[in-house]
Amino acid sequence: MSDHLTDQLSDAPAAAASPTQPYAAYLVGLADDVLVYAQRLAEWMTNAPQIEEDMALGNIALDLLGQARALYPHIGAIDGTGRGEDDFAMQRGERDWRNVHLVEQERGDFADEMARLLWFSAYQVQLQTALGRSTDAVVAGVAGKALKEVRYHLDHASLWVVRLGDGTEESHRRMQAALERVQPYLAELFDDDEASVVAADLGVGVLPSSLRDGVVEQVSRVVMQATLSLPESSKWRSRGGRAGIHSRPMGYLLAELQHIARSYPGATW
């Protein structure tokens, strides 16, 4: 990635003397969610229904990638490994990734992406609002910046969901179907795993379950305006992302993301 950013990292002593922070695992989950979703969103470039959407989704991906890039070196500093952004992004196997299943799913059609973007952005708005009060200054700084951006992402997704839901019979049907398909992956966003409990106790993070009501309220308002309905809770729901257990698409995503870096170790360009 960036030469000057990695230079800064290599200036730091490799075996950083800073004590290992127990909340590092929580931050890995935050960063992995946005990096993996950035990778998925970037796939829309040249594939979106119109060129403006190529640029919109590419720009949203870039904002999320920026969040991840700011968090990874910080995690490498607090977990004592001194790892940089490339180490996290390019050198970890599937079991070391802590993102939720929602963001790793294949992109589907445009309505599927707008359903996912609506939920994920609504979640990010609640999350970044809460993280703005983090006791970790880096986390709070990243959140203050990210909040402005994810609000705009939410606005963009909301516009599309309303346009498609309250559009033609065909667009309404497909937008509703997209809401149904994304449903099983939502509960995982709000699970309080061990890492998030530790982080919340320290005032660094926030309990995911505490974000749920605000997210559901925001999405419900958009769904209602779009003349759509929120699906019933699904019988099956995704689990395991925060523990490194992923679904089938994740391996393929990592293969595409990492293959150059792993085939040519230490390559620069």
């Binding site: 700084g141 990210a146 309303v162």
Partner: protein, 166 residues
């Protein structure tokens, strides 16, 4: 910001790589320049407009280059907090944007970032940088870079970029 020394002036005049009619100082990207005349070093703090702004690397390497030309070693720090806002843009910067054909950002609304996000095409008034008409509509939420949206003037019919207020 101390711009009394030649090296500080050279750095503050560096154009933005994406919008070269404005300097990084005018955009509010350049936060501070501290010159150490004894050690011949300069500590420069910059802040990104957007989290993933790809221009940051080009800006950092240009700062190092300009400092080197003046015989200084640059130490560049990237600062995220407080988060960049278009309110930091200078009046000169805004006027340069307008002349270039980009509508400058309006003031960031106090309390805009409170409460639920309303749904709908943004209704704020953006003046056409070409003819001055206030009758313009948004074509796309996102323009050619993360910091811009795409609009069209209903009076002169020209499309134009709007620098989004954040």
């Amino acid at each position: 910001m101390a711009v009394d020394s030649a090296v500080a002036q050279a750095i503050s005049r560096i154009p933005d790589p994406e919008v070269p009619v404005v300097s990084i100082a005018d955009l509010g990207i350049l936060r501070s320049v501290e010159v150490d005349e004894q050690a011949h070093t300069v500590a420069v703090t910059i802040t990104p407009t957007y989290s993933g702004c790809p221009a940051m690397e080009a800006i950092a390497s240009r700062i190092a280059f300009e400092a080197d030309l003046q015989g200084y070693a640059a130490e560049i720090r990237t600062q995220l907090s407080p988060a960049w806002t278009t309110d930091w843009m200078t009046d000169d910067g805004r006027e340069a944007l307008r002349r270039f054909g980009i509508a400058p950002p309006g003031a960031v609304g106090q309390g805009e970032s409170r409460g639920p996000v309303p749904v709908g095409i943004s209704r704020h008034v953006v003046t056409c940088p070409h003819c001055g008409s206030a009758d313009t509509t948004e074509i796309s939420h996102f323009g050619s870079t993360a910091c811009k949206a795409l609009r069209r003037c209903n009076a002169c019919l020209e499309p134009f970029d709007e620098f989004k207020a954040i």
